[in-house]
Every structure is written in structure tokens, then in C-alpha cells.
């Protein structure tokens, strides 16, 4: 293992891999990425693959509008097919009040160039043929939202980063940070020490542990892991449920067909406190709860076999917005963590923004640094809650 590096990134998920790639792209020659398990093993490989700009606040809409533009070209840029497809997100309203809320959200999204529109149930049925339209009044439909393969995305970023000289060490847990007089001097791992002056904490659910190693309070950024599960069915004919389809009023339940193998991923907002940071054991109550809603959205799913269930973490902050930026207490300590279920979809732009912040001190990515300020929690200054799901 290398004994020194210019930048060390902790966390080999979509965010960490994207930061590594973007640093290399900016010409930083000496980058190390550390992952305690295998790449993607934390949260990315357990996500539902969705990518959307349908948020309900300006900062997230602007960032995601930009990100979708990045996603469109990412296969070409990384020279590896990441299976990005603009199959849309379809949110479904069950009450008149919800239709009004959708209209307000659509207005805000349209203001920033996101082409969401209100559709009736006939159009929804054309988009998702087996949809049970009866309980719904209208849909918020953005055909520009989409999905990509989380496995291929992490691999593609890592592969390209390696080609450009980044050293990636998997199965290498970080055991400590060396900080002297407020400056980073190195990272201790189970396989040795790497001297460095710059560290990026991209450990998401595990980020508070890394912050503590840097001498910060563990709850300086109060990221809580919530077990979030997915149930997946056997493949069905392609094109049946391509968009992520979600009636938010139904416990944030959603269905989305895997763009690659055609199985249907079903999720619901049943959050569980994990027993530990390694507890990704699926639970039976989730299985029953998620299928109750999924078979109401798509009744024909009753006849489809469930083949897999797995769990991962939503690394949640109190306002469900991530902490992205520079940590002022330790010189050259950066963080991009606490994505609350949105890390995968934000990874291209966040990686680019953090890399530019490190190298140039500013970024051309439309990322509202103040909105995502890691110090907002200690000031008790929360943002409006980011719309979750998917």
C-alpha cells in the first residue's frame, strides 16, 4: 500500500468513487480511495437505482437538473455503459390537496427547467400499463428523470479513476486520522498509515465515526442510519413499469422495473433502527408491508414471484439533506455524506463539486454550498426537508 498521497477519500460508494474520478480528471496525481469492504458495499449497491430532479426545493432541483445532464453523458465519458435511461418518475396523488401540492412543486421545478407536468390517469396508464388508476386523481410526470445501474456506475467510476492513476484499496478499514494542530497529517488503516494533507469523508452512514476520528463530536453532523429495504420480483415484460411509480401518500411506497433484468423493485417507507452499523438483515414485517402497497399500485404483481429481499441504509440527517463541503475545524477535511437516500442520484455532480472545491477552491457545479453546509446542524439551522423516496 502507498505510504503517502495528496488526497485520501474514505468510502468507496458512488460518491467516493465519483470524487476519486473527478480529482484525477482535474490532474491530481496522487489520490487514494479507501473502502472498508468491497466497492459499493455500503449503500450504493443496495439502492433502487432511481435518478430524479423532482424535488420540492430550489437547491436540490438545481443540483439534480445539472446531474441529469451529467448522467446523460456519463457512459460515454467513462467509456463504460452504465445503463442510464430516462424512463421518468411518476408520482401519484390520492387527494385534491395533494394535486394542489403537486401543482406547486411542478411550478417550482418548471422554473428551473425541469419539464415535470401534471397528467391524468389515462396518460399514466399509457406510461405504466398495469397501473391501478382507480385510487389516483393525477400524476406528476417528469420524463427526464430516470435510472442507472448502481453496480456499473461504481465500477465505471473506479475503473476510469484507476486508469488515471488513483489507487483504490478495498477491504481496508480506516482505524484513525492523524490530526496535529488542526491539520491533517495522515490516515491510519488496518494495512498501514498513509501520509496525506487532505481527507474527504465520503463514508455516508459511517461518516460520524470518521468525523470522531478527526477529533469532532460524533454528532457534529448527526447522521443516523435507517435500515431501508427492497423486495425484488422475477422479471416481467420490459416496459411495464419503467418509471419509478410512487403514490407518496401510501407510506412513500414505490415500484420500479430494473432497467437491466426486468424484475420489479418495491420499496416502502418503513424505516427501522438497525441493531448495529453492520445490520443489513432483511425483515419479514417489511416484506409484508411493502407488498401490501406494491400490489395495490400494480395488482398484477400478486401473480409475480418475489425472488430477493435485501437491506441497506438511508444515512439520514435531521433535514434529509446531505452535508457537503469543507469542515472548518480541521484544515483540509471535506465531507460529502448523510445523503438520506439520494447519494447515488447526486454522485456525478457532487463528486465534481468536491473535486473542484479541493483543487480550485470553488466549483462551477450549481451546488448551493450554503444549503448543504456541514455546520448547519450545530447552528440548529435546518433546511426544509428534502423530499425522499427511491
Amino acid at each position: 500500500m502507498k505510504s503517502k498521497a495528496e488526497v485520501v477519500i474514505i468510502g468507496g460508494g458512488s460518491t467516493g468513487a465519483s470524487i476519486a474520478y473527478h480529482l484525477a480528471k482535474l490532474g491530481v496525481e496522487d489520490v487514494v480511495l479507501l473502502e472498508k469492504n468491497y466497492l459499493g458495499s455500503g449503500s450504493t449497491f443496495r439502492c433502487a437505482s432511481g435518478i430524479r430532479a423532482q424535488f420540492t426545493d430550489e437547491a436540490n432541483i438545481k443540483l439534480q437538473k445539472y446531474n441529469i445532464e451529467r448522467w446523460k453523458n456519463l457512459s460515454e465519458e467513462l467509456e463504460y455503459d452504465i445503463h442510464f435511461k430516462q424512463t421518468g418518475y411518476l408520482f401519484l396523488a390520492t387527494t385534491e390537496e395533494e394535486v394542489e401540492a403537486f401543482k406547486q412543486n411542478i411550478k417550482l421545478q418548471n422554473k428551473f427547467g425541469v419539464p415535470t407536468r401534471l397528467i391524468d390517469m389515462d396518460e399514466a396508464k399509457e406510461i405504466v400499463p398495469p397501473l391501478n388508476t382507480e385510487p389516483f386523481l393525477a400524476g406528476a410526470w417528469n420524463p427526464a428523470d430516470g435510472k442507472a445501474c448502481p453496480f456499473r456506475v461504481v465500477y465505471a467510476f473506479a475503473r476510469k479513476a484507476r486508469e488515471m492513476g488513483v489507487e483504490i484499496y478495498e477491504h481496508t478499514p480506516v482505524t484513525g486520522l492523524i490530526v496535529e494542530n488542526g491539520e491533517i497529517k495522515g490516515v491510519k488503516t488496518e494495512k498501514g498509515v498513509i501520509k496525506t494533507g487532505i481527507v474527504v469523508n465520503a463514508a455516508n452512514a459511517w461518516a460520524p465515526i470518521i468525523n470522531e476520528m478527526a477529533g469532532l463530536e460524533r454528532d457534529f453532523i448527526p447522521i443516523r442510519p435507517y435500515k431501508h429495504q427492497i423486495v425484488k420480483t422475477e422479471p416481467i415484460a420490459p416496459g411495464q413499469i419503467e418509471p419509478l411509480t410512487c403514490p407518496p401518500a401510501w407510506n412513500d411506497s414505490y415500484v420500479i422495473q430494473d432497467g437491466e433484468d426486468g424484475g420489479v423493485m418495491c420499496g416502502t417507507g418503513l424505516e427501522k433502527e438497525p441493531l448495529s452499523l453492520d445490520d443489513v438483515q432483511p425483515t419479514y414485517d417489511f416484506l409484508r408491508e411493502v407488498l401490501k402497497w406494491a400490489t395495490k399500485i400494480i395488482p398484477a404483481l400478486k401473480y409475480v414471484h418475489v425472488v430477493r429481499q435485501w437491506a441497506g441504509f438511508y444515512a439520514k440527517t435531521p433535514d434529509s439533506n446531505p452535508a457537503i463541503g469543507r469542515i472548518q475545524y480541521v484544515d483540509e477535511l471535506y465531507i460529502a455524506a448523510g445523503f438520506s437516500g439520494h447519494g447515488f442520484m447526486m454522485a456525478p455532480g457532487v463528486g465534481e463539486a468536491i473535486a473542484e472545491l479541493i483543487v480550485k477552491g470553488k466549483s462551477k457545479v450549481p451546488l448551493d454550498w450554503e444549503w448543504y453546509d456541514p455546520h448547519r446542524f450545530e447552528r440548529g439551522e435546518l433546511r426544509s426537508t428534502a423530499f425522499q423516496i427511491g
Partner: protein, 97 residues
């Protein structure tokens, strides 16, 4: 010598021996990544057919002992179950709950 293009290792997702070996030749020797890039072990059989064979191929090509290669997590349900059965609205063919 049989044609590796025609040897199916993962029957659920139709992955051939050639595809697996090509990935290993590119340096992807972690079974977790092989699994996810080729979708072996992710079909209805949950890897019962393919994973032992992938371990053998990996062992042979990397010089590791098969027991050194840790299998990916087994996902529940072990056998596919219709969603309707799990929500209690149908009986399965085998009358199992």
C-alpha cells in the same frame, strides 16, 4: 474442447463461461463485483446453480483455493414466492405459507 461461448454457467440470466472468464482476465476477481456486473446468482435460483461453478472458475484462474473465496450473501426468500401469497391474498401452488 467445448466452446466456452456455449457453456451457460448462470441459467437464470444466461451468463456464459466466456463472459465470466473475460471479466476475470480484466482483473475483476472479486466475486461480489463479478456477481453484480454479470448478474450471476441474482435470478430466481439465487445462485444455487451458478455460484459454486463461478467459485471453481475463480479458483482455477486466480490460483486461490475454493474455500478462500467467500460466497455472496444469500437473499431471502430462498425459494421464489408469489407476492400475493406473502400479502395473504392467495395460496401458493404447494399450499405453503
Amino acid at each position: 474442447m467445448s466452446d466456452k461461448k456455449n457453456i451457460i454457467i448462470c441459467r437464470c440470466n444466461e451468463v456464459t463461461q466466456e463472459e465470466i472468464e473475460a471479466l476475470i482476465d480484466q482483473g475483476i476477481t472479486d466475486i461480489e463485483m463479478i456477481k453484480r456486473l454479470l448478474r450471476i446468482g441474482m435470478g430466481p435460483c439465487q445462485g444455487r446453480t451458478c455460484l459454486p461453478m463461478v467459485v471453481s472458475i475463480l479458483a482455477r484462474k486466480t490460483g486461490k483455493k475454493p474455500e478462500e473465496i467467500k460466497l455472496p450473501a444469500t437473499r431471502i426468500p430462498v425459494r421464489p414466492v408469489p407476492a400475493g401469497v406473502l400479502v395473504g391474498e392467495m395460496e401458493s401452488d404447494e399450499n405453503e405459507e
